[in-house]
Symmetry: C2
Subunit: 237 residues, 2 copies
């Protein structure tokens, strides 16, 4: 079996593996570093949103040319991959020791969600990307330990951890462009539901008010449902 000639896509397992075998790029005395590029990118993302994360803007932030960035990063996609993994690390912190496994999982899920809602730019980059960077893997290892410790088989524990992460990330992205703190949006929603054809979608018309401002309810209901379901899996194992 010989080495594949095609470049692996950033973010894939093959890419992270290939990355390690490359000779480390020599440290420059010059100021431009990968760390610096990621710092600037993250700041840009928080201040001006995901659409503003362009190579030109990053370069401008760092007072260099776009071409210089390609000395530290092969692609924009590679930059995004590294950025996402770094941003994830901020969200992973140890939950309170005295909680049980479900309490710890809920605590981490809520914290991760809050982090993403405070940094919507990061959240929107997170959609659809694989998460195999070192920080992502650390989080995965933690969740796996939690569920195995609770009594799930490794296989089911892995699926459970994955499901939970999928749900948290999905719940953030669902409301992304929508500023839920903006009362206008919920007003428009109510108006939309109310004005539908009652013979086609009767329940939306009837429960328009309830549906209009679900807010965090969706997340909490889904979260407890998942954890309750995991608990049931343990008892039936």
């Amino acid at each position: 079996m010989h080495e594949p000639t095609t470049e692996p896509r950033p973010g894939t397992a093959a890419w992270w593996l290939a990355r390690e075998n490359e000779p480390e790029r020599p440290r420059r005395r010059r100021s431009l570093t990968l760390e610096g590029i990621l710092d600037a990118s993250l700041a840009l993302l928080d201040e001006r949103g995901a659409a503003a994360l362009t190579m030109r803007n990053v370069a401008e932030e760092l007072d260099c040319t776009q071409a210089s960035l390609y000395r530290h990063v092969r692609n924009r996609e590679e930059l995004v991959t590294l950025l996402v993994d770094r941003a994830i690390s901020v969200a992973s912190a140890a939950p309170p020791e005295d909680a049980d496994w479900a309490g710890k999982a809920a605590w981490s899920a809520r914290r991760f969600r809050e982090h993403l809602r405070r940094h919507p730019g990061v959240a929107s980059l997170l959609r659809g990307t694989e998460r195999l960077g070192p920080n992502s893997l650390a989080g995965m290892n933690y969740a796996l330990g939690l569920f195995i410790g609770a009594g799930l088989s490794p296989r089911v524990a892995a699926a459970a951890a994955s499901s939970l992460a999928t749900f948290v990330i999905g719940s953030v992205n669902f409301n992304l462009g929508v500023d839920t703190r903006d009362p206008e949006e919920s007003r428009h929603r109510r108006q939309l539901f109310r004005s539908r054809d009652a013979s086609v979608v009767p329940l939306l018309v009837e429960h328009a008010d309830t549906l209009a401002d679900l807010g965090d309810d969706e997340f909490e209901v889904g979260l407890t449902a998942l954890l309750t379901g995991f608990r049931a899996l343990i008892e039936n194992d």
Copy 2:
């Protein structure tokens, strides 16, 4: 309260509402129609992927200029919004009548997921967009009916329906760029997990093989967990 002067973003409740109050664009005898544009876009999406869905390519497919498209669609974003809602309709079909509410929900979720996996382009457009178009609302109404019929309060039923949709969409997008039928990817994953530092992520190293090919397990575990959790919510109501 006067009309807002800012244009609502495509996909928001305000946008769908405003759309209805506009005078319908007169039917042309010319061949170019909104329907035709959406047909061509969907074909493009399936054949060449989400990245190929550009105004230029759509125009080329229809033998017209890019500018002509803007006669039927205000934005690319608007085109995407309409496209997503239309694509959703294909996935919504009536589940078998003899199943209970959980069986019906599971059937629909699996069907929706399969549809999205067969059309990854649609799935990637789906991330992060609001889903308030007529077909999306029909699906929402159906799910709401299912959960209310099962005994949940309208509020909890709405949150449950939302959670389920979030999970299904999230589960597809997680594996997007990754061709899971490609054995190489799972091999690389196993290799990645195995070669991690066992003092940092011991569980990933230990269970590398299990983690490498989770496949559809993640979805099934999450799905049954959610439904089990919903059932528990009913009994405690």
